[in-house]
């Protein structure tokens, strides 16, 4: 079970509580998790990454297990602790602006 923690505004948009969780059939890559997240919550499409290029929006960050995964390629495997559900993947609105 993959757990994903969304920032406040995206939780409100998706109408979910603190975190969401789902099973992945294939390899647990960052791209696969985001694909599943957007399939389950289509209102999140375009808010985390670009509709077409799938590039991460510039003020979004992906953190897990104390590491910044934001610059990892979409086919990079997530840490074991995330794959096993022990730790969540955190989607974060970066510090920016006032």
């Amino acid at each position: 079970m993959i757990r994903v923690v969304l920032p406040t505004h995206l939780r409100a948009l998706a109408k979910v509580d603190h975190e969401v969780a789902f099973q992945l059939d294939g390899p647990a890559t960052l791209g696969a998790v985001l694909d599943m997240l957007e399939a389950r919550y289509p209102m999140l499409r375009g808010t985390i990454r670009d509709h077409i290029t799938k590039r991460r929006r510039q003020f979004i960050r992906f953190f897990a297990c104390g590491e910044d995964l934001s610059h990892d390629p979409p086919d990079a495997l997530l840490p074991d602790a995330v794959v096993k559900g022990a730790e969540p993947l955190r989607v974060v609105g970066a510090m920016a602006g006032g």
Binding site: H9, A12, G93
Partner: protein, 371 residues
């Protein structure tokens, strides 16, 4: 008894202000979409319960919200705005060409006859249309072929901010873009031509009478007389009597002809309103006095409307989409400020009172007159 619903977009959410026809007691609902910038909300003339809202964020991009119950509940709808074909390039600040990049929706204009058809004016400037209630959006790319490579962003961004749907000719659309100008289509948005003849931008452009490049701030039209258009340009208040074929200046005795919004009285097509702002380098009212100016002669002769408005130490701005009118009699006039006040006049501008004083900076004000 009929009622009024005022739709207010702010830097930190949307607010809905409702009243009966007396327009004296108001209920405030909101913030909706708290913390997000709401550039614009507007209701469908064909179904007043159908509302559209442009919700944006520097972090999370663009969301379009739709309500089918007059703003009580909302659902996100389609937010994919992809330019048609190869997007091409426009002029950049340094003189180079820069790729078109979608940033946000500035304005939503629902069709007058079909609640599911709505136009969106976006930054970087382009016009999109949805015919399925906002689920999907298609660009009308002919607009950007009108010398789009020469358009360049102004300080507020290269935004398409005004969409006028002709009330008598369903194929005619007139739009305006900041730092590009006005443009007109007579075939439902397939082909376009510039509509800037008569505009003179002596301070802003090397060629003051250029075909494109004029910084149009806002357009307005009376629904009974769609060939007559009014424009607040960066400097100059302008009028066209031939649906944008040509323009002439009507600034007349205004204390300054810089400003952002312009609106037309609901029942008097020659009564118009502007909010003069001191200059493009000081975005506040002259002398710290917030004054709406009204012309009852279609321009040139203006009177200051001050009763109920702050006449000292007032340094707010009124943005381009933040003034509108209702269709009651007498006509109500509404505007919002960057200081978070929304003012209303229930007597065509003779006197004013704040509905709310402490909202976030107001980006847009629209009103629905409900049966």
């Amino acid at each position: 008894m009929s009622g009024i619903r005022v739709l207010v977009g702010t830097r930190k959410g949307a607010f809905i202000l409702t009243s009966d026809a007396r327009r004296a007691q108001w209920e405030v609902s909101g913030p909706h979409f708290a913390g997000w910038e709401i550039y614009h909300l507007k209701g469908s003339p064909a179904d007043p319960n159908r509302l559209y809202a442009s919700q944006t964020s520097g972090w999370f991009g663009q969301v379009i919200q739709r309500s089918d119950d007059g703003g009580k509940t909302w659902e996100p709808t389609g937010n994919e705005f992809t330019y048609d074909g190869v997007p091409g390039t426009h002029q950049w600040y340094d003189g180079t060409q820069h790729p078109w990049e979608f940033k946000r929706v500035w304005v939503l204009e629902p069709s007058q006859t079909d609640p599911d058809t709505v136009f969106a004016g976006v930054e970087d400037a382009a016009l999109f249309r949805s015919s399925n209630g906002g689920k999907t959006w298609q660009e009308l790319p002919g607009l950007r072929s009108v010398k789009g490579h020469l358009w360049q962003p102004g300080a507020g961004g290269m935004c398409l901010h005004s969409i006028l749907l002709d009330t008598q000719d369903p194929n005619r659309i007139i739009i305006a873009i900041s730092a590009a100008g006005a443009f007109r289509s007579d075939d439902g948005g397939q082909t376009w031509r510039s509509a800037n003849r008569g505009l003179h931008s002596g301070y802003e452009l090397p060629d003051a009478d250029a075909e494109v490049g004029h910084c149009v701030h806002c357009l307005a039209m009376h629904r009974s007389r769609p060939d007559v258009l009014f424009m607040q340009k960066h400097w100059d208040v302008m009028r066209s009597d031939d649906a944008g074929e040509s323009w002439h200046e009507i600034s007349g005795n205004l204390p300054t002809d810089f400003g952002f919004p312009i609106a037309v009285h609901a029942h008097e097509p020659d009564t118009i309103y502007v909010v003069p702002i001191k200059s493009d380098s000081e975005h506040y009212p002259p002398d710290g006095r917030l004054r709406v100016y009204r012309s009852r002669t279609g321009g040139n002769e203006w009177e200051a409307l001050t009763r109920g408005l702050p006449q000292e130490n007032c340094y707010v701005n009124v943005l381009r989409s933040a003034m509108t009118v209702d269709s009651l009699d007498p006509c109500g006039v509404y505007f919002g400020t960057t200081g978070g006040q929304v003012y209303t006049s229930a007597d065509s501008g003779d006197s004013w009172a704040p509905i709310v004083r402490d909202l976030p900076a107001v980006l847009s004000v629209e009103v629905q007159t409900l049966p």
